[in-house]
């Protein structure tokens, strides 16, 4: 298999794609908020953060919501162009979708459009209303999405069971203890306690509390499962030349990316305890020229603790089999040697569906622009590893982001 990728990503190119603005509103249960209202709010926040006005935007990429297909149709059919006053101004408005890894693929899509000259200023928009949706309807939806109806739905598979199959195999291979697995959730909660936008910003969490919560799908306890949340984020990307021309002083570029789609059905994943992370990481390190020591922190998909432990091992941040113990030693904590999921992640900031990964990217960009609150800011950070995955953890997606500063 040919496994080397073009090294086109040139930081000196005027077409080099960069992030220049972000917008976010709090995640949690907000029944009084509305889908289109939230999308409009984060769009305007991100556009203002990029020192732009709405008419600067020529392309909108939509991250899908999962709470309602009717609302998703509004996105597909360009409602946000009209809501933002961009009728005739907008060149294109369309949805990108690969479940939880959508945001990584949306960044790649936006980058390609910008680098090839098909787009100038791209707005990426996401809103989910999971926290206010009917829970049973969402459970049923999650039981039917990403699970083959002919072969696995008939056995009674659902989302927590998929996370549990991964966790069990990971614990078997790594000999990690329940306490070490729970420590990952505690690390994430420490970060959430510093994030005013996190669902669990006010609630501390302990290993004892997690292990005394009821067993949902062995070996996963109730407090190791993500909570469905309402939330919305947005970001703006443009070219380096446009950013400089607009007087922007700092931005975030993509040093490289890698990915690996390893399966569709969890029953067909050959290594349930490893997934596609090491292959995706190898491709991303090759394209970026980075090593596991290059980045200062990571924002890595965490719908279940084992998913993140496996990812940091595949990325070489922790040694093989040591991911959970690496967290238990406090390495990913605030003040730790390699902060992980500084917004609290999906497990503690709230699982906003496809938006969970988008929020992690927005947090990575926020940190690299040095715009996080003082106690949460990773001091003087320059580089971030983004990790995403979707469906039944069908893929592993890696983006290498780095801060760039433009001289006056």
């Amino acid at each position: 298999m040919k496994d080397s990728w073009p090294l086109y990503l040139d930081r000196t190119s005027p077409n080099d794609p960069v992030f220049v603005g972000i917008g976010e509103i709090p995640s949690g249960k907000y029944p009084e908020r509305t889908f289109i209202g939230d999308l409009t709010k984060v769009a305007l926040l991100a556009i203002a953060d990029a020192a732009m006005i709405p008419s600067d935007i020529d392309t909108i990429l939509l991250i899908p919501n999962l709470h309602s297909f009717d609302d998703q149709a509004d996105l597909v059919f360009s409602r946000m162009v009209e809501e933002l006053g961009l009728s005739r101004q907008a060149k294109a408005s369309f949805m990108v979708h690969s479940g939880g890894s959508t945001s990584d693929n949306a960044v790649r899509t936006a980058s390609g459009l910008i680098a090839a000259g098909h787009a100038r200023n791209v707005l990426v928009l996401q809103c989910e209303r999971w926290g206010s949706a009917d829970v049973m309807a969402m459970i049923n939806m999650l039981t039917k999405n990403g699970i083959p109806q002919q072969w696995e739905q008939v056995a009674g598979l659902q989302f927590n069971a998929i996370g549990a199959l991964i966790t069990r195999r990971y614990m078997h291979e790594s000999k990690s203890t329940p306490e070490e697995m729970a420590s990952i959730c505690v690390t994430l909660r420490k970060w959430a306690n510093l994030n005013p936008n996190a669902m669990y910003k006010d609630k501390p969490l302990t290993i004892e509390k997690i292990l005394s919560s009821k067993m949902v799908a062995d070996p996963i306890h109730a407090m190791e499962c993500p909570m469905l949340a309402d939330g919305a984020v947005a970001f703006v990307m443009t070219s380096a030349a446009n950013a400089k021309e607009r007087g922007i002083k700092q931005a975030v570029r993509i040093a490289g990316s890698g990915g690996c789609v390893s399966h569709y059905s969890i029953g067909q994943e050959a290594e349930v305890g490893q997934l596609g992370w090491s292959i995706a990481a190898r491709r991303a390190y090759h394209q970026s020229g980075w090593t596991p020591e290059t980045a200062d922190f990571g924002e890595i998909y965490d719908s279940y603790a084992a998913v993140t432990a496996i990812a940091i091992e595949g990325l070489g941040i922790a040694k093989k089999g040591e991911g959970a113990r690496w967290f238990a030693e406090g390495n990913g904590d605030p003040g730790g040697k390699f902060p992980i999921n500084t917004n609290g992640g999906l497990l503690s900031a709230g699982h906003t569906g496809v938006g969970g990964g988008t929020a992690l990217i927005v947090e990575g960009v926020r940190q690299l622009l040095w715009k996080a609150e003082k106690e949460r800011q990773v001091s003087n950070c320059q580089r971030c590893v983004i990790g995403g995955t979707g469906g039944s953890y069908m893929d592993a997606q890696v983006l290498m982001l780095e801060r760039v500063e433009y001289g006056s």
């Binding site: 459970i139 049923n140 039981t143 083959p148 002919q150 072969w151 696995e152 739905q153 008939v154 056995a155 009674g156 598979l157 659902q158 927590n160 069971a161 549990a164 199959l165 991964i166 069990r168 195999r169 078997h172 009821k214 067993m215 949902v216 799908a217 062995d218 070996p219 996963i220 109730a222 059905s265 969890i266 029953g267 067909q268 994943e269 050959a270 349930v272 305890g273």
Partner: protein, 129 residues
């Protein structure tokens, strides 16, 4: 050929069928519309020995999907068959009526559920060997 019906008819007879390619002799699980090894559509079936190992498993104790409310608790496993293919399956309870005696890498054998259960939920079942 209807690969879903053929597979399910096998389960109803108490057989676990593996798709076999008549051109490259490759085996496929789950069954495919063209052989993923050689793209041939000249496909048939072989009966599995039913011997495999548990790659991973879980016991779902809460939050069952619609239609599985009275099934919980129940165990799901990724089973690797000795023929070199794998599938998601249900596990029969152990001697204690739970699944605490199961471990990853345990040897298991195909042991179909009663016919009326297979008629409602056509999936493979395994038990500790």
């Amino acid at each position: 050929m209807n690969i879903v019906n053929d597979f399910r008819e096998g389960l109803a007879r108490g057989e676990l069928l593996i798709q076999k390619c008549h051109d490259c002799n490759g085996v496929n699980m789950y069954p495919r519309y063209a052989c993923p090894h050689c793209q041939s559509e000249n496909l048939g079936w072989q009966k599995s020995s039913g011997v495999g190992v548990v790659h991973s498993f879980t016991v779902l104790r809460a939050g069952p999907p619609e239609g599985f409310e009275t099934d919980i608790p129940y165990a799901l496993a990724v089973v690797k068959l000795e023929e070199g293919v794998q599938l998601l399956a249900r596990l029969h309870p152990d001697s204690q009526g739970d699944w605490l005696e199961y471990n990853c890498e345990d040897k298991v054998t195909f042991a179909p559920a009663p016919a009326e259960e297979i008629a409602k939920k056509p999936c493979a079942w395994f038990t500790k060997a």
